[in-house]
Amino acid sequence: MIRSINKNFILYLLISIAFVSFSPYLFEDYGIRILNNIFIFIILAVSYNLINGVTGQLSLEPNGFVAIGAYVTALSLLSEDLKWDLFQLEDPAPWVLALSFDIFPALLLSGVVASIVAFILAVPVFRVRGDYLAIVTLGFGFIIKVFAINSPEITNGSIGLNEIPSVLDSYTIGFIAIVVVILILNIIYSKFGRAMKAVRDDEDAASAIGIDTFKIKTLAFVTSAFFEGIGGGMLAVLLTTISPDLFTFFLTFQLLIIIVLGGLGSTSGAIIGSFLVIGGSEWLRFLDGPIDIFGIQTDAHPGTRMVVFSLILIIVMLFAREGIMGKREFSDIFRKKR
């Protein structure tokens, strides 16, 4: 458990709950949509941070596990009749038809499936040092897409799934985000979390004092996959339509910027980063259209936003590697020096 359930923690919890509760009165429709997106990205970023920032193993998996979560949730929520209607390329597989859950068991199932896949990936990768994790997870993202396109009896191929019932309102999404953040903080402040940080700071020393680095890295990876699966399920419900093209490397890249900008290893940083990057991404939308510079109209250059994003990432890495929060949390800032 969080050792220091101090006034600070409760304060931030109350602020978050108040923010989620009052958000529908503060923002308009468009704002709420973006906010829901931000909440889901907080879930994804905070859990992605667990393997990348806290354990220090560069992994590029989120798009793969988000895709798994999204498909599992979508297939669980769609009714049998709707599945017959939707699947045009091939008849749905029998177990796909039988798959039917309410939203919360469906999200849980998404998380479980994602973490099982993560475990299968983690075992070969963590036998060697973490270096290969990046490339194996990057490859995994592609393979998931190849699989999704070529298994029309499960995923409806490249057409994807639509008419997913929109069963989550912004309260529920916000509160799930708060619960996930609390759970992840609990892991970070547990003995496992300290072991993860030890692995990040010095793997040799960590294993010398008796930490099973293989186990700790696998635990971090599987846990982060679990919550990414859940986040993916929520994303599917929010978007109501999913296709293999949705879960490209860009999703992972966004999350990477979020946690790097916020400060690798800081959960508060991941939350700030989610607001900045997802909000900023909406704000930067003008870059993709034609721009007026001193009366000179430039042509529309779709993709300019991505150039800006990659520049931000490189510049942060080169000149401000700590990001906004460094490894600190909100509660560290206002605490007196020990």
């Binding site: 036998r127 060697v128 270096d131 990046a134 490397f249 300019t304 991505m306």
Partner: protein, 298 residues
């Protein structure tokens, strides 16, 4: 399956394998000296292909001139990447270097995307490459001969540099211990630059070959090819140049063979490299020509 078809597939495999090998060499050499999975390497290959396209399409130059233009341009981008993005991070945690590499990769892809537009570009293959040579019942195009021959020449040149020159000796020494080598008076940054020059020029050649064989260029073409080439480098034993070539050929042959013998698995051919990668990590993480870096350095 008759002999002619078998021969045909064999030739296709050599051709595909050569291209993987050319790109894998860059991965393996940079990993050797920097312990960095250079995610931007495949995008250097893409830049090479696009530079050739640009020279031929917009500058109206001939194919040979375009080739040289592309190689020089790719070397420039490769060296610049090292100087601007990787050099300041030599002494930082490895994760910073990896994240920066991904940033550079994404930057190159998107800057090309913005410059050339999102639609795939069709590469006008010089007519010379379209002539068909019949040998018995096997159909050959000049590419299937030129690609392996050029690869072989470049590879021998590289092995000569690595094993017969002072620079090559410095590169090999750097792969084992940067600090000691620097103390002995070798300018490590200069040697790393040479590695990037070699890697980028080979990647550019690979990119041009790729454009001739698959004349549809997209800014994101590097992603998948790079992933496969890296898998080939790991398969051969990362850090070893001959290993990268071997891995490239094994991967090329396997892909061609799977598509030829099991057409129903054709859609999954892109997954083969990935399966190889996982298998190598499970069975022998140091690859076929295995060099165990973890013991020798860091």
């Amino acid at each position: 399956m008759d002999i002619a078809t078998l021969l045909q597939q064999l030739i296709n495999g050599i051709s595909l394998g050569s291209m993987y090998a050319l790109i894998a060499i860059g991965y393996t050499m940079v990993y050797g000296v920097l312990r960095l999975i250079n995610f931007a390497h495949a995008d250097i290959m893409m830049v090479g292909a696009f530079a050739t396209f640009f020279a031929m399409d917009s500058l109206q130059s001939g194919f040979v001139v375009a080739t040289f233009f592309a190689i020089i341009f790719s070397i420039l981008i490769g060296v610049l990447t090292d100087k601007v993005a990787y050099k300041p991070l030599r002494h930082s945690p490895r994760i910073s270097l990896l994240i920066t590499a991904i940033g550079v990769s994404f930057f190159l892809e998107n800057i090309v995307n913005v410059t050339f537009g999102g639609t795939p570009k069709s590469f006008s293959v010089p007519e010379f490459f379209d002539t068909i040579i019949n040998v018995g019942s096997t159909i050959l195009t000049p590419t299937v001969i030129i690609v392996p021959v050029v690869t072989l020449i470049l590879l021998s040149l590289l092995l000569f540099i690595l094993y017969k020159t002072k620079y090559g000796m410095a590169i090999r020494a750097l792969a084992f211990d940067v600090k000691t080598v620097s103390l002995m008076g070798v300018d490590a940054n200069k040697i790393i630059m040479i590695v990037f020059i070699i890697g980028s020029s080979l990647a550019a050649v690979g990119g041009i070959f790729w454009a001739i064989n698959y004349p549809v260029l997209t800014p994101y073409m590097g992603l998948m090819i790079g992933l496969k080439a890296f898998a080939a480098a790991v398969l051969g034993g990362i850090g070893s140049v001959s290993g990268a070539v071997l891995g490239g050929f094994i991967l090329g042959f396997t892909e061609v063979a799977v598509v030829a013998f099991f057409p129903e698995l054709g859609a999954y051919k892109d997954a083969i490299a990935f399966i190889f990668l996982i298998l190598v990590l499970v069975i022998k993480p140091t690859g076929i020509m295995g060099i165990d870096f973890e013991k020798s350095r860091f």
